[in-house]
Symmetry: C2
């Protein structure tokens, strides 16, 4: 394959080229140190070894543009996105399957870099890639690479979570600054003519969610991805009927995010994070949860950013002391962010 520089349609046809694509790119990067967990590229389906407990599953698709951005790329993002969905639902992530839709003409060098980054993110998250599939789509479709990942984990019995547990008076926590991912992807698009050293927050949040295991004050967790923090608040509001009140002055926000949003007219509340957790907790235990997060490097900027109140809308208490309704996201502020 070394003499071929780009993926061709023949790499998708089920024959020799596809076999080489899979063995020389995907299996090459996804190989593990333990022979028992090797990706079997000849199998139609693979057996899973799951520990005791209730299995949980989650799936996510990735079409981020550009494929690489400061702080990550579509490969690492496809690991983090699904690992994080399992984590905030109270599971320990264990295994992942991968679907790749590769555009004809993609450079092998790029594909190696993206899949290599995916493999590295999987190793860091202690999860194994157990099965995969590749398709090649004609030039012009597919935008280089789309990925889909499906994650399987086991529920942590010490994490009892549900939106139905949320009560008025509960506190809202976030594990770090919001909007970094959305802003970093924006800056990576030449169309904006901006640059900066802001990195995406794309990361595995399992260390954050597992740190709260066993804390009875915890009610609910979610990662604020597409639609951002505002959309998580609306999901809580829609499902519980309770008002969600955010305190702008407590909201962790990096200066470049604030600056870019002011310049371009975006609201950081709607911008995607890919390595943050929003948690709802009983008021009396919320300080302890905050301490658990702040003790971790990736949670050191965690904050209590608001609270749940009796029936009502989603409200932002502004730094100037006013109140602003936070509407549900309608139009498309920033497509292809994940």
């Amino acid at each position: 394959m070394s003499s071929e520089q780009r993926v061709t349609l023949a790499h998708g046809n089920g024959g020799r080229f596809m076999r080489e694509l899979i063995s020389e790119v995907f299996a090459h990067h996804f190989k593990t140190d333990t022979t028992s967990a090797q990706l079997d590229t000849d199998a139609d389906a693979v057996s899973l070894s799951l520990p005791d407990g209730i299995p949980m599953v989650s799936t996510d698709g990735f079409t981020v543009k550009p494929l690489e951005f400061p702080g990550g790329n579509i490969g690492s993002l496809a690991i983090h996105g699904t690992v994080n969905d399992l984590s905030v639902a109270g599971a320990r992530p264990l295994h992942l399957t991968v679907n790749a839709f590769i555009e004809e003409g993609l450079e092998f060098e790029t594909l190696h870099r993206l899949i290599g980054s995916m493999a590295e993110a999987a190793r860091e998250a202690n999860i194994t890639i157990v099965a995969g599939d590749t398709k090649v789509v004609p030039r012009g479709e597919g935008s280089g690479l789309y990925l889909a990942t499906t994650g399987i984990g086991v529920r942590d019995p010490n994490l009892n979570l549900g939106m139905n547990l949320i009560q008025p008076g509960d506190k809202l926590l976030v594990s770090g600054p919001v909007g970094d991912h959305g802003t970093a992807v924006m800056l990576a698009r030449e169309a904006f003519g901006l640059s900066g050293d802001l990195q995406s927050d794309s990361a595995n949040v399992y260390p954050l969610t597992s740190a709260l295991s066993g804390h009875s004050a915890l009610r609910f967790m979610r990662d604020p991805t597409r639609g951002g923090l505002a959309t998580v608040c609306h999901e809580i509001n829609r499902n519980t009927g309770y008002s969600v009140r955010l305190n702008e002055s407590e909201l962790p926000l990096r200066d470049p995010v604030r600056a870019v949003c002011e310049m371009l007219g975006y609201d950081p509340l709607y911008l995607a994070c890919e390595g943050r957790v929003v948690a709802v907790a009983a008021a009396e235990g919320s300080d302890q949860l905050l301490s658990e997060w702040q003790a971790l490097e990736q949670g050191k900027e965690a904050a209590i950013i608001g609270e749940i109140a009796e029936a009502g809308p989603v409200i932002l208490q502004t730094e100037l002391g006013g109140e602003r309704y936070i509407e549900e996201l309608e139009d498309e502020p920033l497509p292809r962010i994940c």
Copy 2:
């Protein structure tokens, strides 16, 4: 949503339009009769109820063009493809996750038809859709709709399968005519200027694979999809070193498939099936397996089509009495067949 005729980028942004797309199309079609197995569109990850046994997983992507073809469409195909991969690996398929990459501008009417067909195929196969994700990609990408499905099942302890069990003298069986799917998709492409009443064989093969459960003569099963029967023979040959000898006169082949292949210069051995099973079995039990298949409506044209011999290549014994090497598939005869 009734006033909107086409999918827009705003349907992918995480806000209200995406929520409506998911509830009015995907959740609408995927709803089930049992409340316990409802798709929870508000959850990051869902708990699975798995019976005792070893869990198995498989994943597959779908980019077939055109989206609809005689005998099926990308929706039903995305169910059959993954259900079949689990089935031939010896599992009972139970749950599926779905990723949809939808092209901006796709008509809602078309999306409803495809996802409705997907839901119907899932019900027929007795599997539940437990989780999903949708992304909208810009007009020109995505070719209408790509799907990826990941299936979870439980291994049947009475199906002991493996290529390593294959021995010289074993027989090769196929559950029905080959090449129907590939030919039907070809005929559905206007570019060929052909028409005919041939249907894709796209179907759930679990009834075929479970019919062989407990038969000790059975060694191995695989569904001949991309790359067709020839590619399955090469996989056996490459993994075992044994020669695979096909008998052309025993090969079930429909007249329209034969005719189209002769006209266009395709070899039906390389054309995809999406509802057939290839099995390898000990010679002494192979007639009984054949009877099990022929007793089923979908296996009534099953045949013993060849055998495994000592070390050597993949060979076709032609109807004229000659022998022809069957090469591994290299160039792309027919892209976007699944």
